[in-house]
């Protein structure tokens, strides 16, 4: 494909080269499930599209002691992957709650991250899984923690010549526990009013590697650092779980919108975290 306004990259190097030549004029296109909505609503008119859906960036594999998920892997591919099921069951649960089957079949995990919606389900789960993201450009690559990737609604640290290559997750070890809960206006095909993702490891009853993340309750998917630290190294009981859930709710800064009020979002966050922790620490 040589046409200048639609470029189908055959590999990541082609995508990076074309992106560095095009700069801000170009948008990266993967599944298009967010980009096309913006285009159809006349909110965006990209002069150029660089398509990465057939660039081989969709591999999911265990590599060098990590689970590595290519940014162009579809939600359906993530859900069906044995490696993801074995090492990141939380991500499977979150991806199952994204959109509809038709969305999951073509929408990608990298798109869910780069679109940077505060309500992004996969992104919220990945925060709780301690994900790193690898960003590449024609000039090199860098890896950063996903929690440092988002800077605001629809905004990230990605430079104009950079694209997301892959997501890197630690492998599960020991007695790993997790939970995902989403509250929406209906059960399926919705953007969350609030979501909660928790991952932890139980070591003789003690909580380790506790990570609590919340969606749709802050300008970005939120890693609840204080609440997570509060449970780290401790044995969960009813009163501690209540304190942690309250701390998580306190870390949120939700807004009123068509889906729910700020007050409701804050309340429900505490409830979701409490429910997950109660079930996960049994």
């Amino acid at each position: 494909m040589t046409n200048s306004d639609f470029f189908a990259a055959r590999d990541i190097h082609e995508a990076c080269t074309r992106l560095s030549q095009s700069g801000k004029e170009a948008h990266i296109l993967a599944g298009g499930t967010d980009l096309m909505v913006a285009i159809n609503r006349r909110r965006l008119f990209p002069h150029k599209l660089i398509y990465i859906g057939q660039s081989g960036m969709d591999a999911i594999e265990v590599k060098d002691g990590h689970l590595v998920i290519g940014a162009a892997a579809t939600h359906t591919a993530v859900i069906q992957s044995k490696a993801v099921k074995d090492h990141a069951g939380l991500l499977v649960d979150a991806c199952c709650s994204i959109g509809s089957k038709a969305i999951r079949n073509i929408g990608t995990i990298g798109g869910n991250i780069c679109n940077a919606s505060p309500a992004a389900d996969a992104a919220t789960a990945l925060l709780a899984l301690g994900a790193e993201v690898k960003l590449v450009s024609a000039h090199g690559e860098r890896a950063i923690a996903l929690k440092d990737f988002f800077t605001g609604p629809g905004e990230t640290v990605l430079q104009p010549d950079e694209l997301l290559k892959e997501i890197i997750l630690p492998l599960t070890k020991g007695d790993s526990r997790w939970g995902w809960l989403k509250v929406g206006q209906r059960k399926a095909d919705v953007i969350g009013i609030a979501t909660a993702a928790v991952s932890l490891r139980l070591e003789h009853g003690t909580c380790r590697d506790v990570r609590i993340a919340l969606g749709a309750v802050a300008p970005t998917p939120l890693f609840a650092a204080k609440a997570s630290a509060m449970l780290e190294g401790r044995t969960a009981d009813e009163s501690l779980i209540s304190e942690v859930a309250q701390a998580a709710a306190d870390e949120t800064s939700p807004i009123d919108d068509a889906r729910g009020s700020a007050w409701y979002r804050k309340q429900i966050c505490g409830v979701l975290v409490k429910r997950i922790l109660t079930a996960a620490t049994k």
Binding site: M1, M36, K101, A188
Partner: protein
């Protein structure tokens, strides 16, 4: 302007498109294939559902160029022989078509399900159709139709 080459319902097609043109626009406006409907145009209602290389997609938010070199099946393509597809027959027998606007998308979503799981349970059917909205709110007959069509399937699966 990019040239899009794809196969639609078994026919090879070549179409000139804008880079931001949706697959739905190509089907309806360039190829005059009118079963996929434009409802929301944002991937919420499912009226535009088609099968792209075996996968159910919302054609309104699928960039046409993404279908390059691929095969698209629309409702027209599942009864190409002139015989009604078992799902179409079941929708007819069970009066599952009310205003008809959502029907092509419903049938394509149901077909994608039955291709993957020939004997789905009722909850599995409801889940598979959750990306398709019916404005007449007649879901019961739609679900019954899919159950009826699956009953005729050779058993493989639960």
């Amino acid at each position: 302007m990019p040239v899009l080459e794809l196969k639609v319902n078994g026919n090879d097609c070549q179409v000139l498109v804008e880079h931001t043109t949706s697959l739905l626009e190509v089907l309806r406006e360039k190829l005059m294939i009118l079963s996929p409907k434009m409802g929301c145009n944002t991937g919420d209602c499912g009226a535009c559902s088609v099968i792209l290389d075996g996968m159910l997609v919302h054609s309104c938010i699928t960039p046409a160029m993404v279908a390059s070199g691929k095969e698209v099946i629309t409702l027209e393509g599942i009864s190409a022989s002139g015989e009604l597809h078992p799902l179409q027959k079941a929708f007819q027998d069970n009066h599952a078509t009310q205003c008809g606007f959502c029907t092509p998308g419903m049938i394509m979503a149901a077909k994608a399900l039955l291709d993957e799981n020939p004997k789905p349970t009722e909850p599995q059917i409801k889940k598979a159709l959750s990306g398709n909205l019916c404005r007449c709110t007649g879901y019961k007959k739609i679900v019954e139709s899919v159950m009826a069509a699956s009953a005729d399937n050779p058993a493989s699966g639960s």
